[in-house]
Assembly symmetry: none
Homo-oligomer: 295 residues x 2
């Protein structure tokens, strides 16, 4: 057996354990170890034999590697890798903003961290889904946009941009007041865009249900596939709203989705959309909504 227990490895991450132990391993195990380090996502999702085939190694080597690292078997190593990869380690966040007393630059550091996280979140948005949703908007006879509370800002942006080139066919849901949601007005052949994140407002969920019930095309912009407004949606556009503690959820991702959605819908509109946009712009310029731009 492996004899002397060389335990007490770096507890930080199974991957770092692997790397540090790598040089002291037999040749073949190094090979396999490097493969695991380079393909850790596949290591967590695919089967041992699968990996072995792709790495050109023996299945048993994986078991042996795990044991050499101090695990009881490949299953346990994989479990460790899986946990290390788990997204949104939501656990120890409650203490976060609390702990440090307001240091001189703690705010600055926090803002920077937040911005960086949001930038990373943007790259995870699915462009293909946005393009698909834009096609649906393009073919819709009429477009409704529903967003409430803080999401209303996103709804209004979308409403504003779409109206630039389809003024007669785009409308905000609940424009007349909180009690009049127009929910009965949805029809098949129309599209309803609902924007929301947890905690989900009642109005947004009702809008989504009504849209689905009416047979309209439902496009949900939400923070989770488990969001109530995503149920029955024909298109689900996901973003990350993960909030810092005590802070409000982030809308950056939602905005970052709404804008290309409008843009692609516009480009699908072709010449006629361009014509409408020019008309709108001309009208705004005529009433001197803009100041002269600097050269």
């Amino acid at each position: 057996m492996a004899g002397l227990l060389k335990l007490q490895p770096t507890r930080s991450s199974p991957l770092s354990e692997l790397c540090s132990a790598l040089p002291s391993l037999p040749l073949r195990l190094q090979e396999v170890g490097r493969f695991v380090a380079a393909n850790d996502y596949d290591a967590t999702t695919r089967s041992m034999r699968d990996l072995a085939a792709e790495a050109g190694a023996d299945p048993a080597a994986f078991t042996r590697l795990a044991k050499a690292l101090g695990y009881s078997g490949w299953d346990q190593l994989r479990a460790a890798l899986t946990e290390a990869r788990r997204p949104s380690q939501a656990s120890p966040f409650s203490g976060r903003a609390k702990g440090r007393r307001h240091g001189p630059d703690s705010d600055v550091a926090l803002i920077n961290a937040k911005l960086e996280a949001e930038a990373a979140g943007l790259t995870r948005i699915s462009a293909a889904s946005i393009a698909d949703a834009a096609k649906a908007l393009h073919t819709a006879r009429r477009i409704w946009i529903a967003g409430f509370r803080s999401c209303r800002s996103v709804a209004e942006l979308l409403n504003y941009e779409l109206r630039l080139f389809r003024p007669d066919e785009v409308q905000l849901v609940g424009g007349s007041g909180p009690e009049d949601l127009d929910l009965g007005a949805f029809r098949a052949g129309e599209a309803v865009v609902v924007i929301g994140f947890a905690p989900y407002s009642r109005a947004s969920v009702l809008s989504a249900r009504a849209a689905h019930g009416a047979g309209a095309t439902l496009i949900a912009i939400a923070d989770s596939p488990a969001a109530p407004m995503a149920e029955g949606a024909d298109h689900v556009l996901l973003y990350e709203a993960a909030a810092s503690p005590g802070f409000f959820p982030s809308l950056t991702g939602a905005i970052a989705i709404a804008q290309p959605l409008a843009a692609v819908t516009f480009s699908l509109g072709g010449a006629s959309a361009r014509k409408r946009l020019r008309e709108t712009e001309a009208r705004l310029a005529a009433t001197s909504q803009y100041v002269a731009e600097k050269g």
Copy 2:
């Protein structure tokens, strides 16, 4: 109306397929489907029986769910989820956006390029400036927020978030209509936030001038230090609105500034701000604005 042939699933993401199909599924399958949607990471890594135990459902339900979605079995559904989650799909950027006339995926490439550019733009935002501006908001007796046209969405978000903990002291400029801009109401000791980018709307420039003239603290959120509303501003918060050709300027950066601005102002507000926020939240919960969140 709930179409018989409403299939034709969205091929972009297995999770969207799941969401779309959810309402038309049998009760128990919905339950399981929601569980998968809410725990898609576990769905890709753990075993069917494991998930069943945690979801309190029958293992067979997972197989049946997969088949109901058009997959040949759970294995295939899981494979799809796994692929959708695979990191670093960032690779196919080489084909970029330039040359091709509307190819099949030129939109997708364009959206990806845009998102990446915006992510890069976020990291260039000055956190220190935001923190400074937040201090100014904190000490202001009253806060006005001005944003017009597409920038109105940003203004409304800021207005909404600040009002959560300072409801009596925050107000949108021009809430009553385009001709009534409240510009005469600004006073020294108050703060005015003006949001805008090129081309600059007349109303926003007028707001900024009025604020400066009245001796109020002027905070400009703009795309350039040369923006008219930045003239005479006490705080200038810059973001990149660089538009793709033919598209609208981007507001992602402005939103990314507005949110931490509100958040830091909140944290400066200390105990009293927290108290007001709790009150507001309690009121919203009491009028059942929210649906119950999933546990």
